[in-house]
């Protein structure tokens, strides 16, 4: 399996461990990641607020770059995923926007048709397709069963549903993957709810209240870990956790893993190679 690999800005910066773990597990699963240095930021719904046509144009460019390689575009980030699919939705359904985008960039050699030909894939779908492969490689199924993992999807992977093509939560994709990895998955209220990342810098009290709810829900379900399909969710669930849970028992802090780290652990990849030492809420080496 060969993909045009789109890590995204957060993954190349603050969440480098996500990129690192993805690159560490890819060869073990027969995934080839092709780096394309021309890729630009997806805009994350932020640029859209300044200039929505520009955000669409940036993603048309990204999609065209993958198309030139004849490859599907693979992302590790729910936010990039949602933004890329939002672009394809607008190109298909919104003639006005389509014309505006074309007028800005077609002279630069990017075509909307090419952008629509590229398939956008999130790693959760890929790993799900590889469940039997992962199951075969699981190193210590017995000890892993003891670990309870709470799935956290992230808003951009799920909503708005009319812009998306796969219903990850209704298909229980994260839960199936957790189970395929040999861990115990829990059903809990917070799985499809919001972490508050978008306003962590603008209205942090609200973010903290949302985080407090999410973490309390996960704790009530006796989760040892949370695993998320979005690095931005990971950033706040991990980074702001002790702030959000101030006054609660700090021993009860819950490590928050990126998806490829969870898979990497069961494939027996080294703790540091997965960047697990970079977490703010420490992941204990013995359990990983």
């Amino acid at each position: 399996m060969k993909y045009a690999y789109y890590p995204g800005c957060n993954t190349e910066g603050l969440s480098r461990e996500l990129d690192q773990s993805m690159r560490a597990i890819a060869p073990k699963l027969g995934i080839e990641l092709v780096d394309l240095p021309e890729f630009v930021c997806c805009g994350a719904g932020q640029i859209r607020e300044k200039d929505d046509v520009a955000e669409l144009a940036l993603n048309v460019r990204n999609l065209c770059i993958a198309e030139r390689q004849g490859l599907d575009l693979l992302t590790v980030c729910a936010t990039c995923y949602g933004t890329l699919l939002h672009t394809q939705y607008c190109l298909t359904h919104d003639r006005g926007r389509r014309e505006q985008v074309a007028s800005r960039i077609s002279s630069l050699g990017y075509s909307l048709e090419a952008a629509l030909r590229t398939r956008v894939v999130h790693i959760l779908e890929v790993f799900n397709g590889l469940r039997t492969e992962i199951l075969k490689q699981v190193i210590s199924p017995e000890s892993q069963k003891q670990i309870v993992v709470a799935p956290f999807y992230g808003c951009r992977l799920l909503r708005p549903h009319h812009e998306l093509t796969t219903d990850f939560a209704r298909e229980y994709m994260l839960e199936s993957l957790i189970t395929a990895c040999g861990f115990t998955s829990v059903a809990y209220a917070g799985r499809t709810a919001c972490c508050g990342f978008d306003i962590a810098f603008t209205d942090q009290p609200v973010t903290l209240r949302l985080l407090e709810k999410r973490l309390a829900e996960a704790a009530a379900s006796r989760a040892d870990w949370i695993v998320t399909a979005c690095p931005l969710c990971q950033n706040v669930l991990d980074g702001l956790q002790s702030k959000a849970r101030r006054g609660h028992d700090t021993h009860a802090l819950i490590p928050v893993l990126h998806l490829p780290q969870l898979v990497g652990i069961v494939l027996g990849i080294d703790f540091r190679a997965l960047g697990l030492q970079r977490h703010i809420v420490p992941v204990r080496k013995s359990s990983a």
């Binding site: 800005c9 957060n10 190349e12 910066g13 603050l14 240095p37 021309e38 890729f39 630009v40 930021c41 805009g43 994350a44 719904g45 932020q46 640029i47 859209r48 607020e49 300044k50 200039d51 929505d52 046509v53 520009a54 144009a57 940036l58 460019r61 919104d94 006005g96 800005r104 960039i105 002279s107 630069l108 808003c155 951009r156 909503r159 708005p160 549903h161 009319h162 709810a193 919001c194 508050g196 990342f197 978008d198 306003i199 810098f201 603008t202 209205d203 942090q204 609200v206 973010t207 209240r209 949302l210 709810k213 980074g239 702001l240 002790s242 702030k243 030492q277 970079r278 977490h279 703010i280």
Partner: protein
């Protein structure tokens, strides 16, 4: 007879409890089923409804944990293993059974002045601001059912000062109306009504029974604020800093976006920042760059 079980959340101002009712769901909407229960099984069951055709907005309730209109939802479409749960909308007080205390909702809507102010304009409104051809995203179809408001998590945790999805939809409706001459004042008002606190959960867009693209409405309002020179707050600064980094280099400039957004508040981030630094999680002031990013300036509007 084909049967199913409705689990209804009851409340009689003293007790709150679940009660089960069995009905034949064939060809019935949730509202039909409720009426049948009240007519034939329990006269005390309370719910709100008027038009029975998705127009008045009074029958919104939580059906299987999601806000929907009872009169527009067929029981068989939402049954899970022969069962269905019905609860009042969340985020409001409850008067009785499925009937919510609505006054807070109407107060919030009134805050954004949902009426036309046709007084002569003080200054002229620029053409792009009164652009009637701009997409309405369906805001004119809002029936004020409060489904979006009920399922909005920010509305739930933000203590006051938040117009919420339903408020933003109303605001956009009047901002776009060419007969209204207070566009700037309306935009200004939104800054005190929490327009920068939406975290784009998009649950509102998913539950709106009228298919209004509420997420895009909020984006459009923020865009108008920025173009009008407003948004001089962390929310607006974040969008500006984020965009200018990408425009220049193709990649997000994490360092300066954070500094410019937080301003002096960055001091309160120090404990978290210190914990992160110790773990090697540092945002470095080095700008990454995409290949051929010089062409990106053509992607952006000039102002």
């Amino acid at each position: 007879m084909n049967t199913c079980v409705l689990h209804i959340r009851r409340y009689d101002s003293v007790r709150s409890y679940w009660q089960e009712f069995t009905v034949d769901p064939t060809g019935k909407t949730v509202l039909d089923a409720l009426k049948e229960i009240r007519d034939t099984q329990d006269q005390t069951l309370a719910y709100r409804a008027q038009c029975r055709s998705g127009i008045c907005g009074s029958c919104a309730m939580r059906i299987n944990g999601q806000a929907r209109l009872a009169c527009k939802t067929f029981v068989t479409d939402v049954l899970v293993q022969g069962k269905l749960t019905l609860e009042p909308l969340t985020g409001f007080g409850i008067i009785r059974d499925l009937v919510i205390e609505e006054s807070l909702f109407w107060e919030t809507i009134a805050q954004i002045k949902p009426w036309i102010e046709a007084a002569p304009a003080v200054g002229s409104v620029p053409e792009w601001l009164a652009d009637e051809s701009a997409d309405s995203y369906g805001v004119e179809n809002c029936i004020l059912c409060a489904a979006c408001q009920s399922d909005c998590e920010v509305h739930e945790v933000k203590q006051g000062g938040y117009a919420g999805p339903a408020g933003f939809v109303q605001a956009y409706r009047y901002v776009r109306d060419p007969r209204d001459h207070t566009t700037r004042e309306r935009l200004q008002l939104l800054e005190s009504q929490g327009i920068w606190s939406c975290t784009h959960i998009q649950q509102c867009s998913d539950v709106c029974p009228k298919g209004i693209r509420i997420g895009r409405v909020i984006t459009a309002l923020r865009s108008l604020l920025l173009r009008s020179g407003m948004g001089k707050n962390p929310g607006g600064r974040h969008v500006e800093a984020f965009t200018s980094g990408v425009r220049k280099h193709g990649k997000l400039d994490e360092f300066w976006t954070m500094i410019r957004t937080r301003g002096m508040r960055i001091l309160s981030d120090l404990p978290v920042g210190w914990r992160m630094t110790r773990r090697g999680k540092v945002v470095k002031p080095v700008q990454r760059k995409s290949e051929n990013s010089n062409e990106l300036k053509h992607f952006f509007r000039d102002n």
